[in-house]
Assembly symmetry: C2
Homo-oligomer: 228 residues x 2
C-alpha cells in the first residue's frame, strides 16, 4: 500500500520534478520484503531510494539527496544559505507537526468519525490533537502570504513535503464524498489557492494518489467502525 503513502509520494514528486527515470516498487507493509529490511535496517520503513545500488532512507534526507545529485533542473532548495535554512526549517515543521504519522492517524480518525456519525469529542485526546493540527496549519497558512508556492515563484522542498500529503487529503475528500474538506478552504484560503497552483503543474497531476486504493482503505475503516 505504499501508493497511499504521502512520504513515498514526496520522493515520486521530487524525481518527476527532476525528470529522473525511476522504477517504483510497491511494498506490502504487513509483510516487508528482504529488500526493504536490508535497505533500511534501522527504521524498516518506506520510502527508500536505491541509486547506483546504494540505499538512502528518510524522505527529507532522500529529497535533499535527489536535489544534490540532479542539481541541474528544478532546485528544491534555494542557493542562499539563509533561505536554505528557512526551507529546511519549514520542511522539518511540516514533517514533524503536520504530516507525522500520528497526526495523519488522528485526522483520518476524526474524518472517519464525522462520516460514520461517531463522535470524537473527548475521546483519546482526539479533539486536542485536531486543534493542534489546525494551529499548525494556521502557522503554515501565514507562511504562504504573498507567495505562489512555499518555495516562492516555483515549487520547492516545502511544497513537495506538504503537497503530497495535501493532495492525498483532497483525494480522500473526493472518495468519501464529504461536504467539508479536511483542509478547510474557508479557514485556509491561501492553502486552497496553493493547492490549485500545484494542480496546474503537469508533474503533480501525474502523481495523484490512487483513488481506487483509497476507496478500498476507507471501506475497510468503515467496516472496522461498524464492527466496533
Amino acid at each position: 500500500m505504499t501508493g497511499l503513502s504521502p512520504f513515498a509520494g514526496r520522493i515520486i514528486w521530487a524525481l518527476k520534478l527532476k525528470g529522473v527515470e525511476f522504477e517504483s516498487v510497491e511494498e506490502d507493509l504487513t509483510n516487508k520484503s528482504d529488500l526493504l529490511l536490508q535497505s533500511n535496517p534501522v527504521h524498516q520503513k518506506i520510502p527508500v531510494l536505491i541509486h547506483n545500488g546504494k540505499p538512502v532512507s528518510e524522505s527529507l534526507v532522500i529529497m535533499e539527496y535527489i536535489d544534490e545529485v540532479w542539481n541541474q533542473t528544478c532546485p528544491l532548495l534555494p542557493a542562499d544559505p539563509h533561505q536554505r535554512a528557512l526551507t529546511r526549517f519549514w520542511a522539518k515543521f511540516v514533517d514533524e507537526k503536520v504530516t507525522s504519522i500520528e497526526l495523519n492517524f488522528v485526522l483520518l480518525k476524526a474524518f472517519a468519525s464525522m462520516w460514520s456519525a461517531l463522535q470524537m469529542r473527548g475521546k483519546e485526546g482526539g479533539e486536542a490533537a485536531l486543534e493542534e493540527a489546525h494551529e499548525n496549519l494556521r502557522i503554515l497558512e501565514k507562511e504562504l502570504e504573498g507567495k505562489k508556492f512555499f518555495g516562492g515563484e516555483s515549487i520547492g522542498l516545502v511544497d513537495v513535503t506538504f503537497g503530497s500529503f495535501a493532495k492525498l487529503l483532497d483525494v480522500l475528500d473526493e472518495v468519501m464524498g464529504s461536504d467539508k474538506k479536511m483542509i478547510d478552504e474557508d479557514k485556509f484560503p491561501l492553502m486552497g489557492k496553493w493547492k490549485e497552483q500545484l494542480s496546474e503543474l503537469a508533474v503533480v497531476k501525474s502523481c495523484l494518489p490512487p483513488a481506487d486504493k483509497l476507496a478500498a482503505a476507507v471501506q475497510a475503516r468503515r467496516n472496522e467502525s461498524a464492527a466496533a
Copy 2:
C-alpha cells in the same frame, strides 16, 4: 539554563570548530526573552543563531547553515552526496532517537532514581523507554565500527549532534559521583573510545558543560525526589 542544553551545545561546538567568533546569550526558559520569542516565534525554543541580524532555528538546521556559510574549515558534512545523505540520516537518528528531550528526561529520571534508591521498575513505561534507549545506542555503537569518529577520520555533523549530549552525560556522571556511567562503557566500548577521541580535541575541551550548574540542577532534582 541554556548552558546545560546539549542542543545549544551543538551550535557552540560547531561555531568553535569553524573558528567563528560569537556571543552566547543565556536564556531563562521559565521567562523567555522578547528576543527569543521574536527570533523563533514558531517553537519558542533555544538554540537560535542570529547571523547578520537574521535568526535561524532548530539545531540541525543551524548546524547545516554554519557548515554552508563557513565552508572553508572543518567540513561538518562530507562532499559526496551519498555520504552526505548518510550523515543526515544519522544526525536525524541521534536527534530523534537518542537526544530527544523526552528520552533525555527518561534517562535523567532513571539515573536520579538509581541515585536516590527509588525504583523506576514498571513506572510510567520508564524501563521500556530505557531499553529502547539502549537499543538505539547499540545501533549507534555499530556505526562506529572501524571509525575514529562518526564522521570518519575527523569530527563531523553526527559527532557534534551526539557529542554535546554524551559530554553532558559524562559531566553528570562526575557530578553525581556514580559508579556506573550513563553510557556504560562495558556495553558500548566503541563509544567509550569515541568519547576519549573527542576529549583530545581542544575545541571539545573548551566546551565542557558547566559542572557547577549541573550540580545545582542535580541537587534541585534530589530535593524534588525527597519531597515526593
